[in-house]
Amino acid sequence: MRQFSNRYIFVFSTVMVVIVAVLLSLAATLLQPAQERNQEIEKKKSMLESIRIPASRQNAVELYDKYIRESFVINTRGEVLEGIDAFNVALRNEQRKPAEQQSLPVFRAVTDEGEQVIILPLEGKGLWGPINGYISLRRDMNTVYGVTFDHKGETPGLGAEINTPGFENMFRDKKLYEDQTFVSVKVVKGGARKDDVHGVDAVSGGTITSRGLENMLFDCLEKYNDYLLKNRN
């Protein structure tokens, strides 16, 4: 084995670090536009899926313009706030603010059957990282029309099952309210009763993800309480 001087080792590591730094920052900068575009498409695709429109990455943007009619931002008292673009509201940042200062996005859409629904964004914590999704409500502001969930890094095959159609479809026609009281939809370990309008089956092997999802639904939707009650019909 060749012996190397300390000077050589220092020079070697410096050169190595500089080369690696240049490579990585080049990759990050050059690929950023493509990555951001992907995220925008992904967001539109998720929203469409929550109103049961199967979109592909190719037609998501086009379908989004067709189905999503209106978007606006409200506060926790249910009043519309002017001058904020709902699509670009980062829910994660909003959740760090005090409740009364948060901007809550609402998207209005019309489904294929011509029914007016609203889409609300969700953001919460799973086992390994953030989980998020969209929920669409029928005109009664109580019945779930559809949901879609996504996650950053839940365990494949276990917690990651929350974004499979099998799990998401269970939420259809569940109710958020019991009369005037907000109860949300619960994730029941061991399986929900068939006639339970507030419960769905938990993911087996994904207990913490399921619990995080349940909290996400409750925390995010509770803030819309005033708005939902005001607009019921």
């Binding site: 070697f12 590591s13 990555q35 950053k152 365990t155 494949p156 095959g157 276990l158």
Partner: protein, 219 residues
Amino acid sequence: MNNQEKEPLFSARNIKLLTAPLHKDNPITIQVLGICSALAITVKLKPALVMALSVTIVVAISNVVIAALRSYIPDRIRIIVQLVVIATLVIMVDQILKAYAFDVSKQLSVFVGLIITNCILMGRLEAFAMANRPWPSFLDGLGNGAGYGLILVIVAFFRELLGSGTIFGYPVMEKIGIYTTGYENNGMFILPPMALILVGLIIWAQRSKDRSLIEEKQS
């Protein structure tokens, strides 16, 4: 040295580099490396396959890089250099996937990052690439990636079939109508311990078939 220069690209020795890790020198069952990821991502076949592919690519390329630089890498900081090469490659792969293969990147999620900590990579760089030329190192990387992938796919096949009743998401068990006879999916297969037991069974089967693989008893 001259002999090596003239060695054909696919000489018997080089082919062996490619095939030995599939059986006699398997990274999981013989070298017992990369067990952690074998437990984590073998619940379903698809992520297992994508993971196997990514590991193969990264281990092959980093083997080549380290083998090409091997006489310039100071011995005292070689582990750090190996880690830097692996980490750089993995981040590049992750960034490229995010930009051009978004669906695959979503499917793999955190496991792309976890390739960095896969012991097979460090193991091959340290044991092989530091002492061999780039071409054999490349083959060694491909072989070990394939050997790793083979075990992953075998384990994932049984876990998905018996745990979820599907193969690549296709509901096999439902289609053959076995549920009507009272059969139920075994939840145990979904949990990580079952992967360990399956790997153990593979090790047992492999060694009882080929007794030369059994380690000598230490007295």
